[in-house]
Symmetry: C2
Subunit: 112 residues, 2 copies
DNA sequence: TTTAAATGATCTTTATATAGACCATATAAT
DNA sequence: ATTATATGGTCTATATAAAGATCATTTAAA
């Protein structure tokens, strides 16, 4: 990372991450798990769980999804079977699409 | 990070991340954007976009959500208004919950 | 078929996310 | 009210994610 990373995030990204974190926190409390307990189960530190629940955009998605699934917050509101089905469908559809996206070589000069 | 991080991920986390990446790739191609173009728009490198589309669990969630929203892949299948509403609802519900989770001080000895 | 472009992969450098420890505060239960 | 505990924050060391460059391969279009 040569130049320091200063990403900008859209409102949607910020809201979505904050909502996900809030849902996780709510689900954790409903299940009466302490932050430390949930962090242990997910194999992460308590500090990272705090950031996830706060909606910090700079957490790795794997850790977020792991915590979410432990407390029952599903992103695709899908059970495993449905999720796997969606996954195979996507792979199938992607196999049918062109492998690479090509731009038109030249713009059409249509106004002479 | 004293000890090297070797996280384990559940099948759900892996599938969900892979599905999300696949949906992003599909949406990108439908919109006829090259990987470089999408990466530029999201303010990330092409390499990171590649990992996101492959379903790499170790990408920051902010970058993933940003890319997803650019190509129109919504996680909460919610427009911004609905998302904001959910967000405020969550905050409200969290305000009503106990601030900290407490364990019962002592186990009940119920078998004498 | 030819060719230019898109993709996939690898490597290096550097910024940074994370673990783990610590401390202060808040708070639930006694 | 007291007290033990959960939470929130800070700090340091270190593993690692990301940028950017490069190269090979694939592939869509001419």
């Amino acid at each position: 990372m040569p130049k320091s990373i200063k990403r900008t995030y859209s409102r949607y990204s910020r809201d979505a991450t904050a909502l996900l974190g809030g849902l996780i926190r709510e689900a954790r409390k409903e299940r009466r798990l302490t932050a430390q307990e949930l962090a242990d189960r997910a194999g992460i530190s308590r500090g990272l769980l705090q950031r996830i629940e706060k909606g910090d955009l700079k957490c790795e998605i794997g850790a977020v999804f792991e915590v979410a699934s432990i407390v029952g917050v599903t992103l695709f509101d899908a059970d495993e079977i449905t999720l796997a089905k969606h996954l195979s469908q996507i792979k199938h559809k992607l196999a049918l699409l062109p492998k690479s996206v090509r731009k038109k070589a030249k713009a059409v000069i249509d106004d002479f």
